[in-house]
Amino acid sequence: MPVVGSASKVSETAPWPPAPHPMNAFFDIPYLGNLVLCLILLSAAYTLAMGLGAARGRPRLLGAARLGMFATCAFIALAVALLAYAFQVHDFRIRYVARYSDRSMPWYYLITSLWGGQDGSLLWWLFLLAGYTGAVTRWLKGRYLELQPLVLSTLAGIMLFFAVIMLFAANPFATYVAAAPADGEGLNPLLQNYWMVIHPPALYMGFVGWSVPFAFVVAGLGTGRLHDEWIEAARPWAMIAWTFLSLGLLLGCVWSYEELGWGGYWAWDPVENASFMPWLVGTAYLHSAIVQERYGMLKVWNVFLMCLTYFMTIFGTFLTRSGMIASVHSFARSDIGIYFVGFMAIIIVVCAALIVWRLPKLRADHKIEALLSREFMFLLNNWMLLGMMVLVLGATTMPLLSEWLLDEERSMGPGFYNFWMIPVGLMLLFLMGVGPLVSWRKATGANLLQAARMPLAVGAAVAALHVFLGDMLGYPPVADLTPTYRTGVLAKLETLRKVSPVFASATCAMVGSMILQEIWRGAKVRMRKGESFFTATFKLISRARRRYGGYIVHLGVVVMYFGFTGAAYDDEKEAALRPGEVMEVADYRLRYDRPRDASDPNKRMLFTDMTLLDEDDESLGRVSPAKYVYRTHPEMPTTEVSIRSRADADLYVIMSTVDPTTQRATFRIVVRPFVLWIWIGGFILLLGSLIAMWPKAKDLVDSPKRRRRRRRRAPATAVALLAAGLALGATPAEAQSSSLHAGTVEIEDPRKEELYHQLLCQCGDCPRLPLDSCICSWADDARADLSARMEAGSTIQELIDSYEAQYGAAAIAIPPDRGIGRAVWAVPLTALVIAGIGIVMLGRRWRMRAAGDAPGEPSPEVAPGQAPTDYDALLDAELERLEDE
């Protein structure tokens, strides 16, 4: 019997379709799969019940709940194994398998197809949840016994939800009513690359990971144990989830940069935003938790932020899956939306009820006593990150909001996001640097200035350098950016935007030196004891991993931000060349040599070889952009970009068309500085996170019971491996694919470029592509018409207005700054300003109250003031021991 499921060609003498795999012929996999889904449902419901029972005073049921949880995880593994098997043996009776794979796909893509579509990716989500849950259940053996029952119940509840969705709305084991097709449709060529192997898993690990800390917060609220326990327990899990989410986001950036052929790493696409929003809130939570651990403050904030983070992961996935907002990413529109809406409603109701019920227990131990204090910096941090999240949320859901409120659909293009996020990001960057310099409780301005002396000087020096030398070096301090708003009050802010490069460079330099200064100071204290600089720094970081790991993460953010600033200095050129001709962009000269044909079983490849030349026409290197035509999707040729990455700039070469007969080819070349630093910064960020998470050796070898903490290492090692993968993946690579219509359009006139950038193609086939990117015939006609009218004398604004009048407000990339278009930014900004004023007023009141006020209630677990003083000696000995470790 021919062996099916192997990677290679189908032999001509073998029967068609090939006989089924022996196991498959024996068992009815689809039927089994459905049965297993029911089993998962039952098991999750049982565990939920056991957990609740144990929480209500039957501790023996906790053992039952734990075993039930492990059983549920095993059943989920079973379901995944069955689906994976079905893919490997090409069981095309199952709709999902037929839709996302074909017989020509190699085994590793058959595995990745598991999460290539809606239903399977839900099962994949459940699988990762089972992995996390299994790990946390094992970790919880013998600890946090009071919290444990509700933790298990919450996780079981989440599993129950996903089981319900899969059984009733998106069943991965659903079969065809008619006979199975002989061959499947195959995975979208866009997804057949190694990125598909690492980006979704990493991102899902990030999303799903937040379920665990969420379970801890629900357990804390449910049991009323709200002082420290839940935060302490949730901390390692929150860090793991955050790290994976950051990794997933970074991998997504690299992937889109190398793959999608339009030269960007972030498009503010709804699905991208959907994963960015939980990241923002999660970051706020991680910082805010520090204040609670130190001073028992911001308790309500922490509970709220944790619930919100989890909610945003579900909301994000809802946005992606329901297809309610068009995006290059989205899955097909389906009925699954209503289930998610129900789940989100339950989350909101349960969380709100729990928080309101436990409000008395969430009183802070201390109050914020001064505005210039570290606690207040953290509060500011919370507000700013929350504000950013609300802004992104509003703009992302704009199409839904405007349709609901105004009956016409509008959307926000990248210009809107960049307009707001860049300055807010800059402010956040500044806060990131200044925060650690501010003292706890109450800082003095003089103290702060003293601490910030050196970094301020560095910042000023860099700003001066930029202003005076920037033009000469090719990085002018004032950038000529395409304005987003041309009318109204925001148009005045456009001038500020122009100056942003010098602000950015100064802030990056200042914040970078603030962080390095902190590390230096810490090392200096240790060096007084006689250690060398390297020993001191190493030991410093190793003794206080959370603090210094955090500083390293901040350093990574600074480097990344520096990388982002390069976007202001884009240089771009398009040209049609014959073999032998040379084109010049910025400081680069490229000669087009020849076209080249190649093919493999999956696709036909059309390369165009180019050589990079130096002044003496000597070769500096070769680049070979290409177009791939996949056999299974011949109507969707993909553009393969060639990227040459160097520390000063990336050379991004796109081949738009090539004519085999005349050998003429059109190219678009983009030179963007500093892109490499984004990936380097990302790597530093992940490294810092790993350091912060890394368990101490003593936690591993202390006692047999403690040995279980080794479990934390597994995710840490996985992160390290994936991070290494990122580092390797960021090297110059041959990239693949773009979306169907996106291409390059030769536009000479910058005014026309500006106009086309604002208007969206209405051909109906492409998702939200502006006229300067869409290569369909409708767009061609529209461009011709607009071009003629512009030459006849119409202004850009008039043309935009007439386009809007003709096709509706949804046809404009950035809605005009009136009505809901203004509300999207005005509401969060006003809320922020009001909050700011409110805090200042509260601050005054606190300061007046601080003098005569007794501090809040201390930890309820331990009442001070009863221990005799001979414990002082023991305490000092213990502190010494801590130092010597």
Partner: protein, 210 residues
């Protein structure tokens, strides 16, 4: 390899199914009271102890961070004093609670040591090598803080003691500091002075030459 992959998933599926059914069955048995897989009572005590221990570690870390911030000028003297005092009070209370928690084990350890000494024919109150029973018991008690190993460790420390007490008779007292050294020692292990026969010889020589 690719041909084996389907079988790998089959194996995985079978394994998961069997494991799942077994675990579910055990869970039902636990729910119905037939087993107590968690040993809830003992685990609860161990958990409470562990919570205290972790609370101590957290307070110590907080104290250290506070000192660090103070050294770095991030907190004023007055604020530091107030917070430091409060944290120290909390930490001392936790230490006291830990000691209280461990007290029954400490008493039991002392009883066991006495019993063993009596059984070996020694007087349990005779002068021992220079480690005070208080510190010894405290060390034993602190090691017991994890809970379950208490008996084993007490027995171990007693066993380690037994050979020592047996050989006590042959031990030599140092003329300088009174420390008991091994019979064949030449120099005292504590103060370095000559002990035993070589000490007598040296004293004689010194006496003769003087």
């Amino acid at each position: 390899m690719p041909a084996l992959l389907p079988w790998f998933f089959v194996a995985l599926a079978v394994g998961s199914l069997v494991t799942g059914i077994y675990l579910f069955w055990e869970s039902l048995r636990a729910a119905l009271g037939a087993t107590d897989p968690l040993e809830v009572q003992a685990t609860a005590e161990a958990d409470a102890r562990r919570r205290l221990f972790e609370r101590k570690e957290a307070l110590l870390a907080n104290l250290r961070d506070l000192k660090f911030d103070y050294d770095g000028g991030k907190i004023s003297q007055a604020d530091f004093d107030e917070l430091d005092a409060k944290l120290r009070a909390q930490a001392k209370e936790v230490l006291r609670l830990l000691d209280e928690d461990v007290a029954p084990f400490k008493d039991r350890a002392e009883t066991m040591i006495s019993e063993r000494l009596v059984a070996a024919g020694r007087d349990p109150y005779r002068a021992a090598p220079p480690v005070s029973p208080q510190d010894e018991a405290r060390e034993a008690a602190e090691a017991d803080a994890e809970g379950a190993e208490a008996d084993a460790e007490a027995a171990e420390s007693v066993d380690a003691e037994a050979p020592q007490t047996g050989a006590d008779a042959e031990r030599v007292a140092c003329p300088n500091c009174e420390t008991l050294n091994e019979p064949d020692a030449v120099f005292c292990k504590k103060c370095g002075a000559r002990v035993g026969e070589s000490a007598d010889d040296a004293a004689e020589e010194a006496g003769e030459s003087a």
